[in-house]
């Protein structure tokens, strides 16, 4: 029997697909880390928290620090006998590998273990996949920091996000641009995710409502090799835009800003919370002056300094991004919900979270009442100066002026 090389390669390609499926199956086991339940004396019930987190893959940069911060909160409350001194917290962590389908599989496994609360990855797409199962099971789910305002609506009344909405951060950026006297803008988005496709749209709406003009709208593919063609496109604009706004984050943002600065484009650059990381700060002269929105400015002082100490004691290093803090704050939200409802019942927790107000976090107060299940938080505007984060302003955008989701 003879076979051609072509047939052999066809077989190999089938193997590629099979391999991907097999490896996906192998990776699904996840890790289970149950917090050692102390004596149950006096505890009304144990709050069982299922965590579907992207510990590996493209979302690890968001999800890993969130989980680290959350675990600090878990240790803290359990050391004090649980939430309100009686509700011990138990966590079950499973890795979603930053994949939407895997997030759904992992969520189904977690829900089958009778959890009271589900935490989903820090992005809308996997959170929708996992959240839909939680909605069906009647268990409240909260995304680490998925900021697409369409997320809760796409799932239902059991889905929440620990993040402010992208429409809110776009409003803050647009108002800042107007205050700086910028008249024309160029936006660069990507259809590859809800975050990268909707943020430029919200910015355009808000900027135009302020009287600004969006002179050009570029598109990129996440992970594309370079941004030279886009830099040429911006360079060809006449007149040059005063400001460039993009929700691109690592590794696209460094590539983009290197390309435009390399091409001699000097317009101001506005970014979003995805670039709040040491990578941006380490870009040196290239990223000098970039302004972006984030949940807070990471500084080892005040109440944040206390968190630095706790983090350092547990992990032997300083937190690198604000996401460790917002992970801890998700714990504080759960703590408030359990304390107020005095229950581990998923339905009671969901009802309480929906109406939460004034939860004291590290970056400020957090609430959900009237926020369409997106967290109502203050937004910090940060500027990169000499490789350091410098606070420009802290803003609580007026919901009436925030563009519709």
């Amino acid at each position: 029997m003879n076979s051609t090389k072509r047939n052999r390669m066809a077989g190999a390609l089938v193997a590629v697909a099979t391999g991907t499926l097999l490896l996906a199956a192998c990776g699904s086991s996840g890790s289970t880390s149950a917090v050692s339940a102390a004596a149950d004396d006096g505890a009304a019930c144990t709050v069982k928290v299922g965590i579907a987190s992207g510990q590996t893959g493209g979302l690890a940069y968001v999800d890993v620090p969130h989980l680290e911060g959350f675990q600090i909160w878990v240790d803290e409350v359990n050391a004090n006998g649980g939430v309100d001194g009686k509700f011990l917290v138990e966590t079950i962590v499973k890795d979603t590998r930053s994949d939407a389908a895997q997030s759904a599989t992992v969520a189904a496994e977690l829900l089958s273990e009778g959890i009271s609360f589900l935490i989903t990855p820090g992005d809308a797409d996997p959170s929708i996949a996992a959240g839909q199962l939680a909605q069906e099971a009647g268990v409240p789910a909260m995304s680490w920091f998925g900021s697409a305002p369409v997320l809760p609506a796409a799932v239902g009344d059991f889905m929440f996000s620990n993040a402010f909405g992208d429409n809110a951060q776009a409003r803050v950026l647009a108002d800042y641009a107007t205050e700086q006297g910028y008249k024309t803008a160029y936006t660069l988005g990507s259809p590859d995710s809800a975050y990268t496709s909707n943020l430029p749209r919200y910015f355009k709406k808000a900027f135009e409502s302020n009287g600004g003009t969006v002179a050009g709208e570029g598109t990129f593919s996440m992970g594309q090799p370079n941004f030279n063609v886009i830099a040429d496109e911006i360079k060809a604009l006449n007149p040059q835009p005063d400001v460039i706004m993009t929700p691109a984050y690592e590794p696209d943002f460094p590539t983009f800003i290197k390309a435009i600065r390399g091409a001699g484009i000097t317009a101001a650059v506005l970014g979003t919370d995805g670039i709040d990381s040491p990578t941006t700060l380490a870009l040196g002269e290239t990223a000098e002056g970039v302004v972006y929105t984030t949940a807070g400015i990471l500084k080892n002082e005040g109440s944040m300094g206390e968190f630095f100490t706790k983090y350092n004691t547990k992990y032997g290093k300083d937190p690198e991004t604000i996401y460790a803090i917002t992970g801890y704050e998700l714990g504080k939200i759960l703590e408030a919900a359990v304390t107020q409802s005095q229950s581990c019942d998923p339905m009671a927790l969901k009802d309480t979270i929906t109406n939460l107000e004034g939860v004291q976090g590290i970056t400020g107060t957090i609430g959900f009442k009237g926020g369409d299940r997106m967290a109502i938080r203050e937004i910090s505007l940060v500027q990169v100066k000499a490789g350091e984060r410098t606070l420009v302003a802290t803003v609580a955008p007026d919901p009436a002026t925030v563009p519709a989701a």
Partner: protein
Amino acid sequence: MDGLITYVVNIVSLGGTYALLALGLAVVFSVLRLINFAHGELMTLAGYTLLAGILLGVPFWAAVLAAVFVGGLAAVAMEATAFRSVRNANAATLLMTSFAVAMLLQVIFQNFISARGQAVPVPSLFTGSIPIANAQISVIQAISTVTSLVCLIALKAFFDRSKWGWAIRAAADDFETVRLMGFRASRLIAVAFLISGLLAGIAGILWVMQRGSVDPLMGLKPVLAAFVVVVIGGLGSLPGAVLGGYLLAAIEIALQTWLPDVLVPYRDALAFVLVIVVLSLFPNGLFGKRVTEKV
């Protein structure tokens, strides 16, 4: 005219990087009939080595040399530890092994370095632009273009003039005969992996210099692009890998430049449609040969 210059430079700089990557895959395919999907992780490793060198205060050129060298050594180590024991297994086993190695390295990078990307502070000398006619070409693009062309010329000399170069080219056609001519299989495969690793190291540095950061999953997209390039060029064909690299870059840059806004979201899909058109005209790739073999 200015537009044409930037267009050509965009193609040549990206195509050169694709060609280096694809050649790395093709060289190993020639001797082992394996598409090594862990090739991208060799790029990532070179990127981390470059970063480590810069952070340790080593002169930039020395960090670059170290990164290329580590890429080559890691490829040889990869062959000795992962592929040697399954060398005679079927294509599917080899592919699975390469996936396993790739995932293992990604997880190692994530857990032992960081899940987050790390900025690579290349000297400011490389962030400017050079005026050519009335167009501005970024220094990094110029470096990518020159480096890839020099490497391709050096490789051509190696394949045309050296004993090992001949052997690798001949192995692409008939590995058994090359062994009968007195070349030890283990050594020939190790040399192929060494060249492949050095090419991954060079491509990794060019990639990192363009991107400005290195992250654990950095190698994924380029290795997929290189896989497409190798298929377009014809599996096992070294000139095909080079030509395929420039062809894929030309398709991608043309679509980025001229596609109407409404079609932009379909850019990647359209690029692959064009690749399918090329493959339907040349089912074995541009330079591939249809070879029958006994099973």
